[in-house]
C-alpha cells in the first residue's frame, strides 16, 4: 500500500504541481490514510495514454497495471458482487450471495496474483488454485460444488501473452482475408470457390464461398466459424487480454469494469449492488492489459549441467522427429510488435478500437526482452511459443484422459482444447487443463486424438530418449 502511494500518487501530484503543464496519471485520486484497507486509490485516465505510447508512458502504464494485478481488492474498492453472477454477460442474482467467496461461482480470490504466481507474479498456479469456468451456471445462486455445473481448470501463466495475442490477430486477419478472397472470386466467376485456410503455416481446414455470398462452415477446423482465433484459456475461447481481463475481474474478484458492467449496457453504475459505482475504468483495464502484454516470453534456458545440456539437445531432436512439433510448433512468425489496445477483434462489451478516440498502441519493441527475440530472413519475429493457436480433439476411444470435463465451453466440445503453448512448461507444473498431471511424462501419455501418433511414438522410444525429451521440455522455462 505504502509502495503504491509512493510510486504513483505522490510523484504524479508533485509532477503536476511542479511542472504545471503535466497531466496527472489518473483520475479520482484520493489521499489514503496509512491504515486504509483500500487497494486502489486512483484510477487510470485512458485519455492520458492514447496513441503510440512513448517508453516512459508505456512504463508508467505497465507499472500501474502491475499494481492492479497484485492488488488485493477489498469491499472499499468494489470487491465482491453480492447481486451479480460471475457470468460474462452481466447477470443479476436472484438473491444476494450467501457468502462472499465460493470456489465454483466465485469470488474465488481477491487478487489476480493470488493464482497467477508460479514461479512469479503473472505465472501459473498449482492445483490448489484451480478455477472453475462459468459455463453452465450463468445464473448460479447456489453453493453447490458439484462439477457437473462447471469445468475445473488449472491457472495458466501469462508470460508472452502479448505476443500470443498479436499472433492471433495476424492469423485471424489472414484467415478472414482468405474468406474475403473466396467470396470475391465466387462473385466474380459465378462459381463456388473452396480455399484452404492457412496462416503462418497452420492449417485450419477449408472454406467454401458461393457466388451469392453464402459461406460453408463445415470444413473449418480448429478455429471458430467467424475465423477469429481466440488464443486465451485452455480451450482457446477468449479473444483478447482485454476480454479475458474484464471477464476475470468480475468473475474472480467482483470488480466490475465500466466497459461492460457500466450504465451503458446495464442501466446501472453499481450493477453488483455492492455500494461502489464504476469500479474499474477503461484505463484501469488498459493498465492491466499493458502489464500482461508486456510480460516477457518464456525462454529456453541453458542448463548448467553438461549432462542436461546434452540430453536436452538430444531431446530437441526427438521433439521434432516424433511429431510433437506438428502441433506444439516451436515458433510462429510475427510481423509487428505494435500492440493496439483496444484490439481489432473484440465485440461489444469489451472496449473496441472503433468506439474510442483514446486507443493506445504499445510498441513492444521498446521492451528489453523484445530485442532478444529471434527473427527470420524476412525480418519477422519468431515467437517461440511451442504452439499453433489451433484447437484439436484430444481424445480417442483408448486414450481419453483429456476428456474428463462434463461441459463444453463456449461452443467448444468437452474433449477439444487449444494446443497448450509449451513455453514455460518447465516452470509450470502440474500439467493438463485440470492441473492434475504431476509429470510431463504423464501429460504426454495422456495425449489421445490428434496427439495420439506423437504419444505412440513417445512410448516407442527407448527410456533414454524419453528422458531426453523431458530434459528438453524442462529447459523451456519462465525466467524471473
Amino acid at each position: 500500500m505504502q509502495q503504491l502511494i509512493s510510486r504513483f500518487t505522490i510523484p504524479t501530484v508533485l509532477a503536476a504541481v511542479i511542472f504545471g503543464t503535466c497531466l496527472p496519471l489518473t483520475v479520482h485520486a484520493e489521499t489514503p490514510m496509512p491504515w486504509s484497507e483500500r487497494a486502489i486509490f486512483e484510477h487510470v485516465d485512458q485519455s492520458r495514454f492514447a496513441g503510440v505510447l512513448s517508453k516512459a508512458e508505456l512504463d508508467e502504464l505497465i507499472a500501474f497495471g502491475e499494481t492492479l494485478f497484485g492488488a488485493r481488492f477489498t469491499t472499499l474498492d468494489g470487491g465482491g458482487r453480492p447481486m451479480a453472477t460471475q457470468a460474462i454477460i452481466p447477470t443479476k442474482r436472484k438473491r444476494a450471495a450467501p457468502a462472499t467467496f465460493q470456489r465454483l461461482a466465485g469470488l474465488d480470490s481477491n487478487s489476480c496474483a493470488s493464482c497467477h504466481n508460479d514461479p512469479v507474479m503473472g505465472g501459473a498456479g498449482d492445483f490448489a488454485v484451480n478455477v472453475f469456468v462459468s459455463e453452465g451456471f450463468n445464473n448460479a445462486d447456489f453453493d453447490s460444488t458439484d462439477p457437473q455445473f462447471s469445468n475445473e481448470r488449472n491457472t495458466n501463466h501469462l508470460f508472452g501473452s502479448g505476443l500470443v495475442e498479436l499472433l492471433a490477430r495476424e492469423m485471424s486477419a489472414d484467415l478472414q482475408g482468405i474468406r474475403r478472397e473466396a467470396l470475391k472470386l465466387a462473385r466474380k466467376t459465378g462459381e463456388e470457390q473452396r480455399l484452404r485456410l492457412v496462416s503462418k503455416g497452420i492449417r485450419f481446414g477449408w472454406i467454401s464461398a458461393k457466388p451469392d455470398g453464402l459461406v460453408e462452415l463445415k470444413e473449418i477446423d480448429g478455429v471458430d466459424t467467424d475465423l477469429v482465433i481466440r488464443p486465451f484459456s485452455q480451450k482457446g475461447v477468449m479473444t483478447s487480454l482485454r476480454q479475458f481481463t474484464v471477464n476475470a475481474l468480475n468473475h474472480h474478484h467482483g470488480m466490475q469494469p465500466v466497459e461492460r458492467f457500466g450504465a451503458r449496457w446495464t442501466g446501472e453504475t453499481d450493477f453488483d449492488e455492492d455500494g461502489k459505482s464504476d469500479e474499474l475504468t477503461a484505463g484501469d483495464v488498459s493498465a492491466l492489459v499493458a502489464w500482461q502484454a508486456a510480460l516477457p516470453p518464456p525462454g529456453e534456458m541453458v542448463p548448467e549441467s553438461t549432462e542436461w545440456q546434452k540430453a536436452a539437445a538430444q531431446g530437441g531432436e526427438i521433439y521434432q522427429t516424433i511429431g510433437c512439433a506438428s502441433c506444439h510448433v516451436p515458433a510462429l512468425p510475427l510481423d509487428s510488435l505494435a500492440f493496439h489496445d483496444p484490439g481489432p477483434l473484440d465485440a461489444a462489451g469489451t472496449m473496441r478500437s472503433t468506439e474510442t478516440h483514446n486507443g493506445a498502441i504499445y510498441d513492444l519493441e521498446l521492451l528489453n526482452w523484445a530485442q532478444e527475440l529471434p527473427r527470420n530472413e524476412q525480418g519477422q519475429i519468431m515467437v517461440p511459443l511451442f504452439g499453433d493457436l489451433k484447437r484439436h480433439k484430444m481424445t480417442d476411444r483408448q486414450i481419453a484422459a483429456f476428456g474428463n470435463e462434463l461441459l463444453s465451453q463456449r461452443f467448444v466440445e468437452r474433449d477439444v482444447f487449444q494446443t497448450t503453448e509449451l513455453w514455460g512448461v518447465g516452470s509450470t507444473a502440474p500439467y493438463g487443463h485440470r492441473g492434475d498431471m504431476i509429470s510431463l511424462d504423464e501429460a504426454i501419455r495422456a495425449h489421445g486424438g490428434a496427439g495420439r501418433d506423437a504419444r505412440e511414438a513417445y512410448l516407442d522410444l527407448e527410456d533414454a530418449d524419453q528422458t531426453a525429451l523431458i530434459a528438453y521440455l524442462k529447459t523451456l522455462v519462465i525466467e524471473p
Binding site: A87, P90, L183, K184, G213, V228, E268, G349, F411
Partner: protein, 554 residues
C-alpha cells in the same frame, strides 16, 4: 361534431398518460441512442405519397430482395403518384445507395397504390408482391432481376374494387400456398358513406390444387375499416389468429377484432363470451413482439392520441384472449409530440418493434403525422423512436436520434439496408419526400460509435413456404432469450421480408433455435454475433452470408 367528440376522447385518454412519457426526451437515455441521418436524396430515393382523401391513409413500403443479392430492395406506394421500385446498390457498411427503376411495376399495379407486402406466394425462387390499392388489388408474381407480372388471372385472384389498406398472410397446416387476408376501408359507394360504411374484409384460402388458386374468398363480416392486420399465434397454440386494428373514425358499433382462423373452418371473431374486451381506437398500425420472451406476444396499436401496448392479462387462458393495456406503465403511449410547442394529440401510423440500438432490448418505432390538416391534432407530429429501457419500459429518443422531421409519416420499415448490422429506417410520408435514415451508430459528443452486437437470421425451407412464414426464432445468450417471428402483415401498409435482426447487446455469441412453421423445433445452432446467418430447415449447421464489399463492386 365528430371531430370534437373524438378529440375529447383522445384528450381524456391521454390525460392519464401525461406524467409518464411526455418530455422524457429532455434527459438523454443511458443506453445508446442511434444517430439516424436522413440521406434519401443522396441515396437516390426521391419519392412522395400523394393524393386526396383515399390517400390520407396508406403510404406503404415493401422491403425485400427482388434480384437475388440478399440486399433489401424497396417498392414504395405513391397514391396518385406512381409507385416506385428502388434497387439497392449499397455495399457493406457503405452509404445507402438505390437506383430507381422506371416502369418496374406493371401499369395497373403502380397507380392508386396504398401499400405493398412481399411474400413468396407460389414457392418459386422469387418473392412476389401483394399490392393494396384503391380499387383492384393485384398479386405481382416476382421474376428474375426485380421483374414483376400480374398474376391475378393465373392465381384466380379477384382483386375486387374496395379501398384496401391492410394485408396479412399465413401458411395454414398442410397447405402449399398461403392464406391471404385483405383489410378494406370505407365503402365509398354505400349509402351514408363515409360513416358506418366500412367494407367487409376478406380471407382467401388457397384452393387444393398445384398452383395458387384464390377463387373462393370468405368475407369477414362485419368489417370495421381495418388499417392493419396480422396473423398471430396469440395463445401459443400453433394456430395463428387474425388480429385487426380498426379505425373508429368511420365504423359504427365497431371495435378491435381478433378472428379465429382454424384450419378448414370459416373464420369467426372472438366475442365477449370468449373474454374479448371491446377496445375502440383509431387503429392505424399493429406491431407485434414478445417483449418478455414468454411465448405470448405483446401488441402495439397506433391510434390518434395514445398508442396502446397490449399484453395478455393474467385472467386470460388459451381460449380467452383477455388483454390489458400497459402502455402507460411502460412509457409507450407516445400520445403527443415530444418536442415543440404543439401539445395536441398526435396521430400514429406504422409501428414496428426492432432493436435499433443493438442493446438486446426491443425498441418501438412509430410513424406519426396529421391525417391531413386536422386542427385538433398536432400539425408538427414527429415520428417516435421509443428505446427499450433496462427495466422493461420505453423512453423517447426520436429527437436525439434525428428523426423528428416535420413530415406526415405513414408507412415505414426498420431494416438494415447497407448490411452493417445496424438498422436503418425508411418512412413514407404523405405529400412529402420519403425519409431514409442511415444508422451511423451510437451518439456521442465526439461522433458516432459502434453499438452492441447483433445477429441477422434468414430462414429457408424447401417446398412450400420457402421463407418459413410463421416460424419463431429464439436467440439465447446467457440467461437472455430474444424471440422473433417471421410474419407477413402488420405495420401500416408496409411489410418486410428477409433477414430478421436481433440485437444481442454485449453477448458475442448465441444459440439459435427455430420453431418451424410446422411446429418442429430445430436443434440449437451455435453462432457468433455480428454475422448474417442463414438456416435451412433440416440442416445441422448454419451458413454465414457476407454482403458485397465496396471493392467488389468497383
Amino acid at each position: 361534431m365528430i371531430i370534437s367528440l373524438k378529440t375529447g376522447l383522445v384528450l381524456a385518454i391521454s390525460a392519464a398518460c401525461l406524467s409518464h412519457s411526455f418530455a422524457q426526451e429532455a434527459v438523454a437515455p443511458m443506453m445508446d441512442v442511434p444517430v439516424l441521418e436522413e440521406v434519401a436524396l443522396k441515396a437516390g430515393v426521391d419519392h412522395s405519397y400523394t393524393g386526396a382523401w383515399e390517400h390520407f391513409v396508406g403510404g406503404g413500403v415493401a422491403v425485400f430482395d427482388c434480384n437475388g443479392d440478399r440486399l433489401p430492395d424497396m417498392v414504395i406506394a405513391g397514391g396518385t403518384s406512381e409507385a416506385q421500385l428502388f434497387v439497392n446498390n449499397s455495399t457493406a457498411g457503405g452509404p445507402l445507395a438505390f437506383t430507381a427503376v422506371d416502369g418496374g411495376l406493371p401499369d395497373k399495379s403502380s397507380k392508386g397504390v396504398t401499400g405493398f407486402y412481399p411474400l413468396n406466394l407460389d414457392n418459386d425462387d422469387y418473392t412476389d408482391l401483394v399490392v393494396l390499392r384503391v380499387g383492384e388489388n393485384v398479386i405481382l408474381k416476382g421474376g428474375p432481376n426485380c421483374s414483376f407480372t400480374s398474376a391475378n388471372r393465373a392465381f384466380a385472384f379477384d382483386g375486387g374494387r374496395a379501398w384496401s389498406t391492410a394485408f396479412a398472410a399465413t401458411f395454414e397446416p398442410d397447405q402449399q400456398f398461403p392464406t391471404l387476408a385483405f383489410g378494406n376501408y370505407v365503402d365509398r359507394s354505400a349509402a351514408g358513406s363515409p360513416w358506418g360504411t366500412c367494407h367487409d374484409n376478406v380471407l382467401i384460402r388457397p384452393g387444393a390444387v398445384d398452383v395458387p388458386n384464390y377463387a373462393e374468398p370468405q368475407f369477414l363480416t362485419p368489417g370495421f375499416c381495418a388499417l392493419s392486420m396480422i396473423f398471430t399465434d396469440w395463445n401459443r397454440s400453433g394456430e395463428p389468429a387474425l388480429r385487426m386494428t380498426n379505425d373508429r373514425q368511420y365504423y359504427r358499433d365497431g371495435e378491435e377484432q381478433l378472428w379465429r382462423v382454424s384450419p378448414g373452418r370459416p373464420a369467426r371473431t372472438y366475442r365477449r363470451a370468449d373474454g374479448w374486451k371491446t377496445v375502440r381506437i383509431w387503429g392505424m398500425g399493429i406491431a407485434e413482439a414478445d417483449l418478455d420472451a414468454d411465448g405470448l406476444p405483446e401488441y402495439a396499436l397506433t391510434s390518434m392520441g395514445d398508442t396502446k401496448l397490449q399484453t395478455l392479462d393474467e385472467e386470460a387462458d388459451e381460449a380467452s384472449p383477455i388483454y390489458r393495456d400497459v402502455a402507460v406503465e411502460k412509457g409507450a403511449t407516445a400520445h403527443r409530440p415530444y418536442i415543440g410547442d404543439d401539445l395536441k394529440p398526435s396521430t400514429g401510423w406504422h409501428a414496428e418493434f426492432n432493436d435499433i440500438n443493438n442493446d438486446g432490448r426491443q425498441d418501438l418505432f412509430i410513424a406519426k403525422g396529421n391525417v391531413e390538416t386536422m386542427p385538433d391534432f398536432a400539425a408538427y407530429d414527429p415520428d417516435n423512436l421509443l428505446l427499450g429501457t433496462f427495466d422493461g419500459k420505453f423512453v423517447e429518443a426520436g429527437g436525439l436520434s434525428g428523426i423528428a422531421l416535420n413530415r406526415r409519416g405513414r408507412g415505414g420499415a426498420v431494416v438494415d439496408l447497407n448490411m452493417d448490422g445496424m438498422l436503418d429506417l425508411v418512412v413514407v410520408n404523405r405529400e412529402a419526400p420519403v425519409s431514409l435514415f442511415q444508422n451511423r451508430g451510437a451518439h456521442t459528443e465526439s461522433g458516432p460509435r459502434p453499438m452492441g452486437n447483433w445477429l441477422q437470421i434468414e430462414l429457408r425451407q424447401r417446398g412450400a413456404n420457402r421463407d418459413a412464414v410463421g416460424a419463431t426464432i429464439n436467440v439465447k445468450s446467457g440467461n437472455e432469450t430474444r424471440v422473433r417471428k417471421v410474419q407477413i402483415g402488420g405495420g401500416h401498409a408496409s411489410g418486410h421480408l428477409g433477414f430478421v435482426h436481433v440485437g444481442t447487446g454485449v453477448a458475442e455469441r448465441a444459440q439459435i433455435r427455430i420453431k418451424w412453421p410446422d411446429g418442429e423445433w430445430s436443434a440449437p445452432y451455435r453462432v457468433f454475433a455480428n454475422n448474417f446467418v442463414v438456416i435451412e430447415k433440416g440442416s445441422d449447421v448454419v451458413q454465414y452470408w457476407y454482403p458485397p464489399e465496396a471493392e467488389e463492386t468497383q
